[in-house]
Amino acid sequence: MVIPYVVVIILFSLGIYTVISKKNLIKMVIGFTIVESSLILLLILIGYKPSGTAPILDRQYEIVVDPIPQALALTTIIIGGSVTAVMLALVIKIYKRYGTLNVDELRKLRG
């Protein structure tokens, strides 16, 4: 039960590394989505119980996993999708105005 948590940490660190080291704006957006998916995985892991079934009680089940983190993961997915869409729209606007996606070149420009 430790290895999935390590996977979460690796994904989170990879996403943060992508955000702070890459120059291309679209790659930075991809980094944000990687961070977000690692957090969804963490939420699912918190709710997991060993040998539990999905929280759909059409019969009597002994062990059922926690339904609250799953509902929160749904919230995360929806809000993450909306935020990614808004980020991509801003990237489109920046490219149309300045003609570049490189962060260093954007910083040299005035305005």
Binding site: F12, S13, Y17, P55, P67, L74, I78, S82
Partner: protein, 240 residues
């Protein structure tokens, strides 16, 4: 000199990320230990009493549309806001798109798969309180239909078939309908978005018409998410 500088910068970044990873390791270790010691009273209550109180078999749906329906209203508002921001940022009224010609196989496969997608999406929405699925998932599946039309046939054809004004109308109907259904709880003398407390007739659990307001709330969220995602995709792909 600049090469060494760049290498140092990269090393600095990697060291920062490794430090963050060690910090996260400590935090996650605490979360992992939390599991064994403490009992979760809230989730135990939902699992043991949720079906009786709300009438929905799917506990995630009962959490989303009954216990925490206010959160769901916030989520729906986020999608509405995203669609509004996108139509503000990319205000292209005349839609054109750089398209490529596909072979006939792609067009025929798209035509063939659209009815199945519609049936799957509607099934996911209507059976949201009985089986895996729900309004959000079904709405995403429904929004794939205009996205597929846009990708294969081009954005002009897609927007002539499903007009943007109509999509906006459908999204608004979803949002307003959700709030009106929530106000029903106030009318019957309970809280906003109350369902189990207000006793809207849970019905026989396991049937399609059961669980009070949850199926109708699912329908509203489904059409809202479907129309909202279609608007978001089309405004991202349009260009002058």
């Amino acid at each position: 000199m600049s090469k060494i500088n760049e290498r140092l910068k990269k090393l600095h970044t990697i060291a920062l990320v490794v430090a963050l990873a060690v910090f996260l390791l400590v935090v996650v270790y605490e979360i992992h230990n939390l599991d064994n010691n403490s009992k979760r009273y809230l989730s135990e209550h939902y699992i043991s009493e949720g079906v009786r109180e709300t009438g929905a078999i799917n506990l995630v749906t009962s959490v989303l549309y009954d216990y925490r329906a206010f959160d769901t209203l916030g989520e729906a508002t986020v999608i509405l806001t995203a669609a509004a921001i996108l139509s503000l940022l990319v205000p292209v009224s005349k839609a054109t798109m750089l398209g490529t010609k596909f072979s006939i196989i792609v067009y025929q496969t798209t035509k063939f798969s659209i009815p199945f997608l519609a049936v799957l999406g509607v099934h996911l929405i209507f059976f949201g309180h009985l089986s895996p699925g729900g309004g959000f998932v079904g709405g995403v599946v429904l929004s794939i239909i205009p996205i597929l039309l846009t990708i294969t046939y081009g954005v002009e054809f897609s927007e002539s078939k499903l007009k943007p004004a109509k999509k906006k109308l459908v999204e608004d109907i979803g949002a307003i309908g959700f709030i009106l259904l929530g106000l029903l709880g106030v009318v019957t003398g309970s809280n906003f978005l109350a369902n189990g407390q207000a006793n809207f007739g849970p019905g026989n659990t396991g049937e399609l018409i059961s669980a009070g307001l949850i199926p109708y709330l699912n329908v509203m969220i489904g059409i809202k998410v479907g129309a909202g995602l279609a608007i978001i995709f089309n405004s991202l792909i349009k260009e002058k």
